[in-house]
Amino acid sequence: MSYTLFVDSSNGVTFNPEFDFTRRDRKIENRHRVRSGEEYRYKWGEYARFSMTVKYLNSADAAVVNSWWATNTDLLFQEDGSGQVFSVHLVNNDLPIGRQSLPYDNQFFGKIELETY
């Protein structure tokens, strides 16, 4: 299954994430349980979170992804063939694509972590 991370239709990186692809959306909410046992839940908001390992990215795509991370670029994320597009930021603490994919010296791998904004 392939996904595309892009700024616009002419600036995108398409990749096939590894099987560790995870979607872990989070809610911002408070839950209160009253003395009778009933629960009151106040949901203030939610956001989507994706994390995935990508391998065999060429050097150009790796450089593009890393530059987006460095410049906090507003990005779009879409599963190819799906109509749903997420507005995301790269939220990695470290440079996302920073290692070579053995045995290739022109293929790179790393972890991409995205959150909607």
């Binding site: 909410e29 408070n30 209160h32 349980r33 009253v34 003395r35 009778s36 009933e38 629960e39 009151y40 839940r41 106040y42 949901k43 203030w44």
Partner: protein, 393 residues
């Protein structure tokens, strides 16, 4: 009375699952609620006449709040915290939970923290007279409520508009309080101020009349709580998260002396009255209390006895002080309202008065402070004792 909301609002606030709560933080008329990273908490009490500061932190990574630093005159802007829901046809229905003027702003690590202070701040920055030129209200006998009005307006700089359009003073509660203390009880006093802050002077008046002076919709409100109001909300296991109940021996005062007719020159009180509740003395032992004030004092025994009887009526026995943490549905409650509180474990099923409200807008929880001390049948001055042993001078 609670905030003025529709029954639709109440039904929305009582839902168990809510994902459409609207929270706004207005700087002037512009909403910056989407930038708030942590909504503040604040508390209101019936007897705390002092300014309170709260701080709200907003995300400023895109510089949207830099305008405050660039134009420091924004520091005088009124800011509001609003909460409510969006009606499907009539739009937002919101209540203003807290209002204050911007005190200061700080920028750190991409965040902006704005500090606000409430209406009492202005009164805490003004003094009444000084040692060289005191403000002298001893030339005649004055209604205590008139002295309070002049403190707020002439000395405190608040609006003196005598209608409900007064932007600073809750005129409706003021006239109700004035009617009680003037028309009903004709409480007369004198005062002599030598540099008290306006807030200090108001605290003296509140204490010497057993009145509540508090903020309501960010206006100064005045009340002397007495009989049950018609609107009563309900607190029980279905909406109380947690409750603490205290009973304090220190609440009791069953023989109260009130000194009056103070002479500034001789520094002496010419009169002292007292009231005693025998049943309370028999039950709890003698608990005496002297009320005297050299800044605000009563000029006749009737007024002084009115106060003494009020204090013994309120304090003849200890009351339950209930601190009940509840759901956000109680954000509409205001000080002075009634609430029934039911606790089957402690065997409580009674009506109390709301004496304080704490709001945690971040967690969506409200704590109400309740007690019964100022909740009784219509209060009438017992004049039959004026010629008796109660009047000492």
């Amino acid at each position: 009375m609670p905030h003025d909301v529709t029954s639709w609002f109440i039904s929305q606030a009582n839902r168990k699952t809510q994902s459409d709560i609207v929270r706004k933080f207005l700087i002037g008329n512009s909403d910056y609620g989407q930038y708030v990273t942590r909504w503040p908490k604040w508390s209101h009490r019936y007897d705390e006449i002092k300014p309170k500061q709260i701080a709200v932190t907003l995300a400023n990574e895109d510089g949207v709040l830099n305008f405050i630093r660039e134009t420091p005159t924004y520091l005088n802007t009124v800011c509001k915290f609003q909460f409510g829901y969006t009606h499907p046809t009539s739009g937002d229905e919101l209540i203003t939970l807290h209002e204050g003027k911007m005190l200061g702003v700080s920028y750190r690590d991409g965040a902006c923290t704005i500090k606000l202070s409430d209406r009492f701040k202005q009164l805490s920055e003004r003094v009444v007279g000084d040692r060289e030129t005191p403000v002298d209200y001893t030339g005649s006998d004055y209604l205590l409520t008139d002295i309070a009005w002049w403190l707020c307006t002439s000395h405190g700089g608040l609006s003196a508009v005598q209608s409900t359009s007064n932007p600073d003073i809750d005129y409706e509660t003021f006239t109700g309080w004035a009617d009680q203390l003037s028309s009903s009880d004709n409480v007369l006093a004198q005062a002599y101020f030598e540099g008290d802050k306006v807030t200090q002077a108001l605290r003296r008046i509140a204490r010497m009349s057993d009145s509540a002076i508090y903020l309501r919709d960010n206006k100064i409100a005045f009340s002397r709580f007495t009989i049950i109001n018609s609107f009563i909300s309900s607190l029980d296991n279905s909406n109380v998260l947690k409750a603490d109940i205290d009973i304090r021996d220190s609440d009791i005062a069953n023989r109260v002396f009130v000194s009056g007719r103070y002479d500034v020159t001789s520094d002496q009180f010419a009169m002292t009255v007292f009231d005693e509740v025998t049943e309370s003395v028999n039950s709890y032992g003698l608990r005496e209390r002297l009320e005297e004030d050299k800044t605000v004092w009563y000029v006749n025994s009737v007024s002084a006895l009115n106060f003494a009887q009020r204090v013994t009526t309120v304090r003849k026995e200890p009351h339950d002080h209930i601190n009940a943490r509840t759901t956000i549905a109680n954000a509409v409650r205001q000080i002075g309202e009634m609430a029934t509180y039911v606790d089957s474990w402690l065997g409580i099923d009674d009506t109390f008065r709301v004496m304080g409200v704490d709001i945690d807008l971040d967690a969506g929880a409200v704590a109400l402070m309740l007690n019964k001390s100022q909740l009784f049948n219509a209060f009438t001055l017992d004049v039959s004792t004026l010629d008796g042993p109660d009047v000492l001078a």
